[in-house]
Symmetry: C2
Subunit: 232 residues, 2 copies
């Protein structure tokens, strides 16, 4: 009748989920560089080497974190209105990126070194879901793929753009100083400096909606596809 099985604060064997959860926490807090195996082990109250029971190496762990985050993106494949459904996906993706900004580099970067078939399955779920959504709505397989590419191409770009809009000194009242733009030579970058107030008042949500508008408008205008009720 052991009062306490060991010094470890928590119960039972470590699960892969707990590991990823914890890793996500560290990354959210201190960025990707803040995550080391030793630190992750310490945070879990276990020896760092334990981690290698649940993942072949650190890269796989990072893939796991990206997968975990992407799994929060839900697609309702039964909604017949594909346009608004895509809109919803766009909003969901943005929400997710803002919730875990430090993970975004992982999200957009990891697939660059992994062929499609070898990616974590959770990573491919959104693709498959959107394909079923669109084919159900009458798209060709190939057209559905093109739409997916257009949408996620735009989403990647938008999210990267929006996350770049960070400020140097959030408490400063003058826009020039707040963005650090005063360092730019006036002669070479007059326009950027002049845009300080506009840059300072960036509205990511509105920008996303505008982008989706353009995208959907462009899609319904260029290719042959099933018409849908004007969304929004």
């Amino acid at each position: 009748m052991p009062e306490r099985r060991s010094i470890h604060s928590d119960d039972g064997p470590i699960t892969r989920e707990r590991i990823l959860e914890c890793a996500l926490g560290i990354i959210d807090g201190d960025g990707i560089d803040g995550l080391s195996m030793r630190r992750l082990g310490k945070a879990l109250g276990r020896d760092p080497m334990t981690l290698y029971r649940h993942a072949p190496n650190k890269a796989a762990l990072l893939d796991g974190v990206a997968e975990r985050v992407l799994e929060e993106l839900e697609v309702d494949t039964d909604d017949g209105d594909w346009a608004t459904q895509l809109r919803e996906v766009a909003r969901g993706f943005r929400r997710l990126a803002l919730a875990h900004p430090q993970v975004v580099p992982l999200l957009v970067t990891r697939p660059l070194s992994t062929p499609l078939g070898l990616r974590p399955l959770g990573t491919l779920r959104p693709l498959e879901d959107i394909l079923t959504l669109l084919t159900k709505a009458g798209f060709t397989d190939a057209d559905a793929l093109h739409v997916y590419r257009a949408l996620f191409g735009f989403l990647y770009g938008h999210v990267l753009n929006e996350l770049q809009e960070l400020v140097e000194r959030p408490d400063e009242s003058d826009d020039l100083l707040r963005l650090g733009l005063h360092r730019l030579p006036i002669a070479e970058f007059p326009l950027i400096r002049g845009l300080a107030p506009v840059l300072a008042s960036y509205d990511g949500a509105a920008e996303l909606e505008r982008g989706v508008d353009i995208l959907l408008a462009g899609l319904t205008a260029t290719s042959t596809q099933p018409d849908s009720p004007p969304s929004r």
Copy 2:
């Protein structure tokens, strides 16, 4: 009368340019992880510590490499036809990404941790150039910024998409095997597996043109802007 001033193969003091050139070479060859200060030093025939005379740390070096690559993107700010000029920029950016695929993560990722005003100046040149191009064509400052954002958002996304299309076994004839798609459970990912041939015949250039078409069409359709001769 020293026959040879030192063992070093090349002449004179190391310049920042030579360092970046060499670093770019290593990254192009072996990826970002392949670049270490020690290796870079060895490749230059100097002690690794020499590098710190020309850059405060490794991150700055990486920024420098990204800047160097982005400087190859030229914008003709005197061309009155803004639409075709944007098209040209898009093509240039794609060309550049394909020439240095390993640098792309740097390109899209580094700005996430650096406020606009503190970025390497070369990085801001394309922005300023495009702003002058568009304002010359009659756009508002603010509208020009929006167009820039839309364009580069799309470009980032497209390039990331295209670079993801790498194959596992290039010599394999069967598309399923070549992409590694045979590993996907048929029950869960029927559509993706069915798309193997389409995925295998991805045409990045065409996809880019289509995207730019959509973008320009959307832009001329939604916002108030100076009309331009239908491009292409």
